[in-house]
């Protein structure tokens, strides 16, 4: 575990635009003034560690079993959480949420047409292991229409909230699936200008290689801000 973390400015092209054409809430909720550039101090270069001691960890198996297995395509998602040096970020809390196979969330804000699944809540909260890895057993989320009523559908995606080692490594992101036609027109995925950065938000399909071959397998990588600082310090 690194004591000190170095945070460098990000390449803006790898991060989403703040105001997105066709996403009507964005011009109402994003600051009109330019953000104030600041050099991080100790306050932003520290942050909550061991968040698992503060919130309830729910585990990473949310697909259900036997008679209570959720409807949909069973999938295993293997994720690694790394820092900008490629070093694993172990022991950090990851919060995951997603729609069910029909594209419905269990949330008061979702009054969409699609049916809820009594066997699927769609929320996993877990802690990465020493290698920065975690595995999620779930069903593949469905796509759903956005209430802009102009043909925008969200492609299948999974939400992640990750804490990391310091305040400025906190990340909220979404992961997409390869080969989905809706990826091409999604206003959130395509808000990231750099094509390689967009591609890194898409999971990799891995042919199932072990018994019982009953689940699709995807792999994904999440890179948090921060490098190990090497400056000599007391």
């Amino acid at each position: 575990m690194h004591m000190k973390t170095l945070i460098l400015p990000r390449d803006e092209r790898t991060q989403p635009l703040r105001i997105v054409p066709g996403y009507p809430q964005t011009p109402l909720r994003n600051p009109a003034r330019p953000l104030v550039k600041r050099d991080p101090t100790l306050s932003e270069l520290t942050g909550p560690l061991e968040v698992a001691g503060r919130v309830k960890v729910l585990g990473g198996d949310i697909a259900g079993h036997g008679a209570t297995q959720a409807i949909g395509q069973l999938m295993h998602l293997r994720v690694r959480v790394l820092d900008e040096d490629g070093a694993p970020v172990g022991g950090t809390v990851v919060e995951i949420w997603q729609a069910n196979a029909a594209g419905r969330y269990i949330h008061p804000n979702d009054d969409d047409h699609a049916p809820p699944d009594p066997n699927f809540y769609g929320a996993a909260r877990l802690v990465t292991d020493e290698s920065g890895a975690f595995e999620l057993r779930t069903v593949k989320p469905g796509a759903y229409p956005v209430p802009t009523r102009d043909g925008w559908w969200r492609p299948p995606h999974i939400h992640f909230s990750v804490f990391g080692r310091v305040w400025l490594s906190r990340l909220v992101t979404q992961m997409y699936f390869p080969g989905e036609p809706l990826n091409q027109q999604d206003r959130i995925l395509n808000a990231v200008p750099d094509p390689a950065a967009r591609e890194s938000l898409v999971a990799r399909y891995v042919p199932p290689a072990t018994e019982p071959y009953n689940a699709l397998v995807f792999e994904h990588q999440i890179v948090l801000r921060g490098r190990a600082a090497t400056a000599a310090q007391p």
Binding site: M3, R18, P48, L49, W167, I188, A197
Partner: protein, 179 residues
């Protein structure tokens, strides 16, 4: 060097169960009471047209009463208050208001006492970061917003109760930081 993953909005469906009961009360940790003066921080979060935003997620991070962060990068962290975790989360209600119960932080080296804020919501593709101060004074972050300082200084509405409204956009919008 690896490229940090692109951010995305938290969206409208962040699970309510992730706002754990007591996550907005920082005054105790692992059965111990935090040292220092208990305070409450309350505020309303609004968008450009003044509409209050419900179910918006606010997270805070702060030093303990002695100005020490519970993190190994703080040279004094061995003396950190074992009853103080320093992080909290709240969701706004129908009226757009959040509440935290915490202790008034001490001054970290070179800084005025302050609380770091993060705002996450549908329509925000990036986390918005700002900082609450309790009074004016020399501080490298407060100094960056000289003519808008008043928007970052909480008002002591009654003893121990600070209000800190967050306006995401519009006249008198809250200063947000890029770091």
């Amino acid at each position: 060097m690896m490229v940090p993953t692109g951010e995305a909005t938290i969206g409208p469906f962040f699970p309510p169960r992730y706002v754990d009961a007591g996550a907005n009360d920082l005054t105790q940790f692992e059965g111990r009471k935090a040292k220092g003066d208990v305070i409450e921080i309350r505020g309303r979060v609004v968008q450009e047209d003044g509409a209050p935003l419900e179910n918006l997620i606010v997270e805070i991070w702060q030093a303990d009463a002695q100005g020490i962060f519970r993190h190994p990068a703080d040279p004094r962290h061995a003396q950190a208050d074992p009853g103080f975790f320093g992080w909290g989360r709240a969701a706004t209600g129908k009226d757009g208001c959040y509440t935290f119960r915490t202790i008034r932080p001490g001054a970290p080296a070179g800084r005025q006492p302050h609380v770091n804020f993060m705002v996450m919501f549908s329509g925000l593709l990036r986390i918005l970061k700002t900082t609450l101060f309790f009074e004016d004074g020399p501080d490298p972050v407060l100094n960056l917003v000289l003519n808008r300082k008043n928007l970052l200084i909480g008002k002591e509405a009654e003893p121990g109760l600070y209000t800190f409204d967050i306006r995401l956009r519009g006249e008198d919008e809250t200063p947000f930081f890029d770091d």
